[in-house]
Amino acid sequence: MKAEQQIQIQQLVLDYFIDTDDKTMSAIIKCFVYNESTKDDKISELIDKFIKDNGLTQAFINHHLDLKNTESMWLRSSLSERDMIDQVHRAFLNLAFNRFAWLMDKPVKKVREIKLVEPQRIMLKYDENDCDVHIVSDLNDNYCLCGNATEGDFIKESILNVKDKVTCKNCLSIVNSAKKMKV
């Protein structure tokens, strides 16, 4: 098969599955390209539809039977049918690579590691002047200075029972959500 035709097949397969999500696509490739059976009716239907829509029924059946009967004296599929199925398989793998490359190119959100701390006690600093208590550090990396506090506002540091001592609503909500998370 000519190189331009191979590229056309790849483009047609890419366009055909443009709206199919990655998980479904992965299952389709596993089943269609790697010949692994599936119990998912949706996957079977999608593959069946693709084969019918592209006039590949005869080629696919012949190719499949050839794969099953490897000791047969002759092949059921013609040269062009075998070539076409190979090219379609290659187009699916190309599609998988394209999805993978796209995922790799996407900006990845930095996942913060949650540090384990004692759920009832957290490190606090409080401002003696207005007696307001704010979280300043290390409940975990997600929780740092609250919106009301800035660095340098705090003069004292102690370990307190957060349930009783936190007065800032913002900080209290953070503490409560942290408790729910059981960090």
Partner: protein, 142 residues
Amino acid sequence: MRIEQIINMEVRDRSIIDSPILYKGEAYTFFDTGLTRYVFANADKTKVIKILIEKGEGRFDFNEEESDIYKNASDEKRAKLAKTELTYNGTIIEQEFCNPIKFDDRKMTIPQILFASSCRNEVGWTKEGNLVCFDLNEYMKY
């Protein structure tokens, strides 16, 4: 093959490429060549004629074979073949013009690519936009 034979072939090819042929009152110019035949097309690209490069005893007559294939084809098969007729006492094939895919970048669907591949890409587009096999000897052989 002897050197003078090669020179003769080259001179013949060159003269054929350069000279138009008058057929049924219409001028046909060189369009393409295969292993066994020259192909000439008319000015408005509606018909081609195919002429054997060499004809003689012991040589296979591809024009006759092509004509037989078309005559004996079922209607369903004929729809995928370029309309073909043997004329001039069985010496010239007159065929509906179709632009071979090697000269036409038109996008094809998967069934069309499969069909082209099964005919060793000896297929082309008709005026109506159908993909047909023009080298009938190659039809669905591969």
